[in-house]
Amino acid sequence: MAIQFALQDGKSLSQRPSIAAYVVDRAFFLAAGLGAFTIVALVAYILWEIGGQALPAVIKNGPQFLVNTHWNVQNQSFGILPQIWGTLYSSLLALLIGGFVGVTIAIILTQDFLPHQIAVVFRTLIEMLAAIPSVVFGLWGIFVVIPFIRPAADWLHDVAGFIPFFGTSLSGPGMAPAVIVLAIMILPTVAAISQDAISLVPYKVKEAAYGMGTTRWEAILKVIVPTASGGISSSLVLGFGRALGETMALAMLIGNANQISLSLFSPANTLASLLASNFPEAGQIERQALMYAALVLLAITLVVNVIGTLILAWTSRKIVKA
């Protein structure tokens, strides 16, 4: 870089880049462009590879694959309805719990409920939760959550067994422990994005509400949360997306049973844990069917994530404009 700061006969301080600098600039521009292009190409390649590998199974099984309920390697008849059900059911229940707790935490942290130092510590704790690896949660679920909820599960099954949700007894792994751990895992995502959304609400909106004589919670529930509703709902959608794709903790906790049941205490399966548990030992035909299942999982999460990203982009633009 040949920049000289001394003035020479009133000439400008700046000078043109040398030819070499120009060539380097072009080359670097191309390299950077290649980097950006790699991301686009990677996504295309992922779709092409998984799609290509799944193609034989897609042709052979057709749309029947989505509604069949058996995963039978001997007969080579494959269907993933129980896994789709398990994925959606576990994610929805986890979203119900994790979303509620996550949004509550976001409110507590942004609305000056806690003294500053405690709020900082608490926020760090919740962020640390996001750093714990999925397998560690799985291990914790096996040795802490399952023994902990077993008495409650047994009692609920005995007393209220006629309700379909408690229709079976908890034999070990099952839907309930999986949902609890899943809820804990999506909680930091929901809390973080909701906090951003709530702190984007202009101060004057809150002050106007207080000026009207509302209590703190009236202001929160009737003014602040509705104003931040776009961001909060995108946090829920993105949390849901995380829950759909979560693999290891579920593979360890859900019991890997291909059945459709409303019961919280019966084992089930999800698309991701089907992949995790069957893929390593699968033969050629089963592997193609698993690729088809991966394609379905990809489609579901892609749709959910695109919706979440779009809501987030749309609402943050709207609030900034207003």
């Binding site: 950077a32 980097g35 390593p280 991966a294």
Partner: protein, 303 residues
Amino acid sequence: MMAKAAKIQDRRQSRPAPSKKFNLRRNVLELRSLRNVFLTAGACLVAALGAVPLISVLYMLVVKGGARLNLELFTELPPAGFEQGGGIGNAIQGTLATVAIASAISIPIAILAAIYLAEFRPEGPTSALARFLSKVLTGFPSILAGVFVYAAVVLLMGGYSALAGGVALAVLMLPTVTLTAEGAMRMVPQRMKDAAIGMGCTKTQVVWHVTLPTALPSIVTGVILAVARVAGESAPLLFTALFSNYWLRSVREPTASLSILIYNFSSMPFENQIELAWAASLVLVLIVLTFNILSRFIGRPQV
């Protein structure tokens, strides 16, 4: 807060007593006030509940994992079925190796892409697409990275390998590092870049001498967080790096990793293996948290 409250109190006292008709004070026993108190208590309780799992996880790690924390853990190979003792040395080595491979592949590409997105063509169609796809990829289920790499690398190379595991982790790191690096570069004040351009710098010189040095702490933070995240990943390694009971000698061989070791040992009926799974979890969480804390120290805003 206190001063404000005192002022309001002052004003109230200096005024004539409010008439019964226009009492603006809220009655503490009014339904709305009670609901307010009840909601505050409930919300604090729910929030406290959210902190319980973390404390429980950390407690179990320290108690169960800490019991096996000794030198043997780091130097020995995993035990077979009924064997006693043993360690997780090769799993630690494998995790470090796969994460190093992933970093070596993804960080240069991600930084280049971020420079393009933040500096060269912030508004261009390729940038918009790349940015959108990166955001979508960050929500991508990690097991699909494993499925993809199985199809793209494992089938091609004819077997499981540490290299394939590294590539799978790189797929996960790429979008996160790109997005955080782009954000960091956008935080560099425009006037600094303008000044450099006014001196006759090319765009490349601006990037190398102004943008990158200024944004470096935030970029490093993003990189460390991404490394911490993939160090704990297991789903993408399941059928790319697989597992191995021996030390890693070549990147073309299958390799052990902490996360897969935890997964495998958690379902074993032997007490020894389960203790090792807890110890491995402790080591893994310590690695991840160290990276997280490191990122906080480096990432103090300096712009």
